[in-house]
Amino acid sequence: MDPTSGVVPPVPVRTLVLRAREGDREAEALLCARFQAAVRGFARRREPTQDAVNEFTQEVLLRLIEALRTGAVREPEALGGYVLGICRTLTASAARQRQRRQELWALYGADLEPLELPAEGPSLYPVAKLEDCMSQLSPRARHVVVLGYVLMKSHAEIAAELELTLPSARVLRHRTLAVLRECLAGSISWESA
């Protein structure tokens, strides 16, 4: 790490796993937070609805908490592969999931709840920032963000709704996402007025 950058390096995963094993709930929460987006991404690729993605993510994180507390994670450095393994196992055994989830929820649900990303009501500053950036997109680009990332439409559905070819829909999504990322990295446009 560049010592002048002022960025605090992430705590090593091994440290967090060992702390979580000893009952440190903050370490557990940090690990769940690290994996939340990756698990959501895994689910987004496979699940058709937002609810299904939420449910899948919740279950994987519950299983992660269980594994951390029971000492099932024997190689802390390989935790990434371990969590991916949970994801793949769950995908392969969809029929058994619901019952298992209810059992896990009864045991660990209260600890997971505060870790969830807010579905509604997050701080309004990032909402305002996203709105500011989206207002600078063309209607079509805004639409592709809403269809793909908010409404979770599939690649083919997006292309059909926007009356684009599949390759054009993909290019539009890529370009729009890059523009949005660049815009969100800056400040709200009005702040420099």
């Binding site: 992430p10 705590v11 995963v13 690290r34 994996f35 939340q36 987006a37 990756a38 959501r40 991404g41 895994f42 690729r45 935790l79 990434g80 592969g81 969590v83 991916l84 990303l117 807010p118 579905a119 509604e120 009501g121 997050p122 309004l124 500053y125 990032p126 909402v127 305002a128 996203l130 709105e131 500011d132 989206m134 207002s135 600078q136 997109l137 063309s138 209607p139 805004r142 963000v145 809403v146 793909g148 990332y149 908010v150 979770m152 599939s154 690649h155 993909r170 999504r173 890529h174 996402l177 890059a178 949005l180 990322r181 969100l184 709200i188 446009s189 009005w190 702040e191 420099s192 007025a193």
Partner: protein, 184 residues
Amino acid sequence: MSELDELDDYLFGTMPNEQAAPFEEALFDQAARGEHALLDFVVGVGVLGRVVLQRAGSVMPPMARSIDALRQRGFRVEVADATPGVPYQARWSEEAEIVVTHFVVDMRGHTGRFDVDIETPDGQLLKTLPEVTCDPDDGSFYAVCEAALARLTRGAHVFWRLYETENGQRRLVDSLEQVPATDA
């Protein structure tokens, strides 16, 4: 292809499975190390985008009827008229959740594409609202905005410049001066 393009291809299934398997292994390894900024960005667009959509509804071009629709959904909506030639102050109550600026122009009969540039008095472009749509009933424009964002504009001195592009020619059709609100 950028990392963001690859991530998007992965999420939308346009990355083939044989490529996706090692890709997601790397993704989870990065997450374990605390390197998940890109994933957080795309997940954040979805989460925050849902809030934007529920509130200001940024897909449909806003029209007069959008205001009633927002009120029917229970939001405290305030509307202010902004007329070219009359300095405009962005003043909103603390109770407002969503604010609507109504640009009182009449673009009926115009067939070009409209863009709005927002500029500081010294000509610095703050932002462009591309391809805005006028209300077919009266030819005016409505800008629907999250109140938290709108309040940031209270102290601004800017010019809203409405351009029409037709046959490759871009021309200024109207301009509105926004002055700092007196209570700002």
